[in-house]
Symmetry: C2
Subunit: 300 residues, 2 copies
């Protein structure tokens, strides 16, 4: 990986005077062009509004979990999520929300037993668009694909298999002990060190792009697995709506740095080789410590 | 690493019937003997009491950062920390506390410019006691030593160098932009994915063994780097005292699983090879996803 990172940094080094310090991650982001960013489509953006008015914005990973995402879009359009609650806050692990009564019927058209979308074939097109960040552990390679943290490894049949990675802020679909996959009515997000043992065991469907502090700062549940023990402790969710369901002029807009751009590769290299305050650069960066740049380009 | 883990599991596999499922991490902890645990000395345990009465317990890494820990003990004994505040809560990064006025004089005897304790020689005794968990990235090996997350790598002079690792809940000494090391008056803890780029750049001095939820659930600061913008937002710390300063009968007592024990190696292996709910075990575990077992053996 270190070689890849050094190669990626070459354009930057050429641009700078030899005696100037290398650009910092923030300087690289500030110097990006518009084409270094991709917009988040309004149909891939959920706006979650808590009972206190706090807003949490979630990008859906439609390319990686299309069937689960279709379920989630339908649940959002039908208003199914409105009035559910946050029921679990386990420190250094997850915040989870859903229907605490387990009795609310899902709308017609929901795939009640969707197929597993835990991983996907890592074909040539995906390999070409993949930016490696880290080798070994969990997966042979871990990096970014289409703006998402992805690991990929060879499988027994000789094909390569990819999976989304459980980084901080990723959103997944809760499931029971049976190896069903969950229908998208019960969701969680990661609020701690990446629990990568969940990769390939549960469907990741998105990530929080803004507002996670409203979830990660909730009181921890004192029951087993961090579930709230009292009904009164549950945190109300006023609504979860698709941005595409809002009037066009009111739709919040976000952009994600393109992860197969030279700018992103330079950014990753700068994250691995921090300067200024740092005494000794790490010369490496964990896939979940990249801090992928995401920016809001219009208010909601 | 995978081979090491499989070897470590051998005693367990021998003990179980071939047809029985392997022991879970919880079952392994439940089956430990007293000698699989080491007590935390009262002089290595800080009791932090917030203004609302919440308690946070911090184990000091006296073996790895003796000069900084001596400073911290002195500051605690003199009551210096009493009345300071939590001034910074940056999501997925750190909670930081200290004297927001930057004007409170430290007691006589504090090393105002302690030497860097960012890393240490990894000699034969340490190597023999080290349990490897993970290879590559950041450090050649990452694992546990004396109950602490440690990485070690060869250095240019041919010696091996070790460092404590910035896992969730680790406690370090804040420092300014100058490469001084901080005197222990300003402390922080990690509340997100391990920021391992801080390893070897700042002195880690301990970890939270109980009560981190009182810190990780604090409102996020809205200023740069997550600092609170208003004085009224700062969270009061009533006191930070050494457990050894309490009457003996009131001292809380904790024990840490011995990390060079067969029980710990079996536990790590079981964490890497989860069963039950899991569809596909990860066959690996990050050093910061081990969840080292720590137990309270007496109330405070």
């Amino acid at each position: 990986m270190k070689q890849l990172l050094l190669l990626a940094a070459a354009p930057l080094l050429l641009a700078a005077q030899a005696s100037e310090p290398p650009a910092t991650p923030g300087e690289i982001v500030a110097a990006t062009a518009d084409e270094d960013w991709r917009p988040i489509a309004a149909d891939n953006l959920l706006v979650m509004t808590l009972g206190d008015g706090s807003e949490v914005f979630i990008e859906l990973a439609a390319s990686f979990a299309p069937i689960h995402v279709a379920n989630i879009r339908r649940l959002a359009r039908e208003g199914w999520y409105d009035g559910i609650t946050i029921n679990r806050v386990q420190d250094n692990y997850v915040v989870q929300w859903g229907d605490a009564t387990q009795s609310k019927a899902v709308p017609i058209g929901i795939e009640t037993e969707p197929p597993a979308e835990y991983d996907f074939a890592m074909g040539d097109t995906y390999l070409a668009a993949f930016t490696n960040v880290q080798d070994g552990n969990y997966e042979q390679y871990s990096g970014y694909l289409g703006g998402w943290p992805v690991g990929h490894s060879p499988r027994e049949d000789g094909q390569r298999s990819g999976t989304l990675v459980h980084c901080y802020g990723m959103v997944g679909v809760g499931r029971g002990n049976d190896p069903d996959t969950g229908n998208g009515a019960e969701l969680y997000t990661v609020i701690g060190h990446a629990p990568r043992h969940l990769d390939r065991n549960i469907s990741l469907v998105g990530r929080i792009v803004e507002g996670i502090g409203a979830l990660s700062s909730l009181p921890r549940g004192t029951g087993p697995l961090g579930f709230y023990e009292e009904e009164s402790q549950r945190v109300p969710i006023a609504s979860i709506a698709l941005a595409s369901a809002l009037p066009e002029a009111e739709q919040p807009r976000f952009e994600v740095m393109r992860t197969n751009s030279d700018a992103f590769r330079a950014y990753v290299d700068a994250r691995a080789n921090r300067t200024g305050w740092f005494v000794r650069p790490a010369r490496a960066v964990d896939v979940c410590n990249v801090n992928l740049p995401i920016r809001r380009v219009r208010g909601g």
